[in-house]
Amino acid sequence: MEELCTGLCSVLLESGADPGLALFLSLLVGVLLVSGVPLITVILLIWIERKVAARIQDRIGPNRVGPVGLLQTIADMIKLLSKEDITPTAADRVLYNAAPLVSFASVVLLWAVIPFTPFHFGVDLEIGALYFVAIASFGTLAIMAAGWASNNKYALLGAFRVVALLVSYEVPLVFALLVPVLLAGSMSLVDIVNAQNGMWFVVLSPLAFVIFYISSQAETGRAPFDLIEAESELVAGFNIEYSGMKFGMFFAAEFLHVFTNGIIMAILFFGGWMGPLYYESPLIAFAWLGAKGGLIYLTTLWLRNTVPRLRIDQIMAFNWKFLVPLSIANLIVVSFVLKALQELALVPRDLLSASFGELLPTTVVLLLFNGAMILYLLGILRKRGREARREPQNARAEFAQPASVAGH
């Protein structure tokens, strides 16, 4: 993008345009190009999601409109456009209308920092990884505003639960995010990808990836953490009063967020555009990123359609008593082992220029420690599971009083 920008800028300048105007126009073109990617993808994503869900549930899915149902989303959009848009009398009109916009915009904004290829990206901010976390917090506030502005008990309750879930899972997410930042020694996403030239970070710290994966599944409100649409408990959750296109916007934002998280994970842990022949052409690099992100995205769909929803107390206990301590322990172990290796001069300090061979000892040691941690964790989980099975009486008693658990 930067290349294109300077190109366009100079062309405009040569044709005698005002420098400020030329810069503005080239920036505008850049914004439209970058934001075009998510906007076009989201139409495809809804189709993919429905197709995959259908296949998992032994159905065919959309297949009437267009070839293999590809135009189904367009048809749905036209349907949504012609739907009546009801704003409840009791609602706070301004916030009620602004919430879906902010929710969708907060996801689109993430794409500003995503490096598509080594030379094509919106911007390469020095604080890229932090930008990702900071922008995501607008989405949380939008859900809160939607729930409050609807002035409906169920909406407010749903919003409260979702927000509690989102903020809780942000803690392990950020701790897991610190690991790639620490390994690359930079928050810039371009630097993080470049630092994986020798070795992907998922090999150096698989545990960080697993934590990030689980908590981003929760951040997007997907099963088993799909309190966002707990139909059986909260009618529909925070968006109960929304209808027509505004309701559609919340859904589009969710679909896009899941895919965006897949892309982010590909960048942070799977080397982004890296892959055979990526330097030959930007298209190949872009294809690598898309393929990795898409694969991760498909696994989240698989997970979503396979596992049941957890109760809110289980979700919270899992986060605060398992995932958060684990993510902190993981950060400490990774940083400790790496620092020890650095002090013993077994590792180059700068991963950016390190080759595969130089990184091999680090990889082996880090993997050993990670493996030991994973084995230990599996032991804990197994013990917990056995205890839970040994006390079916308690479990049943708990189940018989959902009010005490699921009350607001």
């Binding site: 901010l125 604080i127 932090l130 506030l141 809160m144 409260f160 927000v163 903020v167």
Partner: protein, 170 residues
């Protein structure tokens, strides 16, 4: 001040900051007040970007919009008080006069006479990066004591707040 991206940004962020702040003190509804507060603090984050401190801007958004807004909303919902407080203000007139006087003193007595002539040409070229900050934070000769004190402060705040807020009866 010529017309460029920075001056446009400055004007926009001023509207955000001061408009949001007025919203905070004037709105009757506390949830709307929280949203106004976030508008205002978003404007402040914008100033940080203009002042070449993007890290602080991101942190500002992360801490305020991501966390404090949520916390205030939870607290507002826990203390259903809107219906009971009929009047928003007490001591309206003296407070208004007092704060207006404070603003005029700060603006005409301090800001313009002392810093009005400060020329923007003397801005240092080099801006510290996040890496400089990180290195300085844990340097023996740097800020390692404040760094650890911050941790102690946060721990104390968390323990204290949990101790206070926990409902002993349940």
């Amino acid at each position: 001040m010529e017309l460029n991206a920075i001056s446009i940004g400055f004007v926009v962020f001023t509207i955000f900051t001061l408009g949001g702040a007025l919203g905070v003190v004037m709105t009757r509804n506390l949830f709307q007040g929280t949203i106004w507060l976030m508008v205002s603090l978003f404007g402040v984050a914008g100033y940080f970007v203009l002042l070449s401190a993007p890290f602080l801007a991101a942190v500002q958004i992360l801490v305020y919009i991501g966390a404090i807004a949520i916390l205030i909303t939870f607290a507002v919902m826990l203390t259903r008080s809107i219906a009971r407080i009929k009047e928003r203000y007490i001591r309206t007139a003296p407070s208004f006069i007092g704060s207006l006087a404070l603003f005029l003193i700060l603006l005409l007595g301090v800001t313009i006479p002392i810093f009005g002539a400060h020329s923007p040409e003397s801005i240092p070229e080099y801006v510290a990066s996040t890496r400089d900050l990180g290195a300085a934070l844990v340097d023996e000769n740097g800020y390692v004591v404040p760094f650890l004190l911050a941790s102690v402060l946060l721990t104390a705040a968390m323990i204290g707040a949990i101790f206070i807020a926990r409902d002993e009866r349940s």
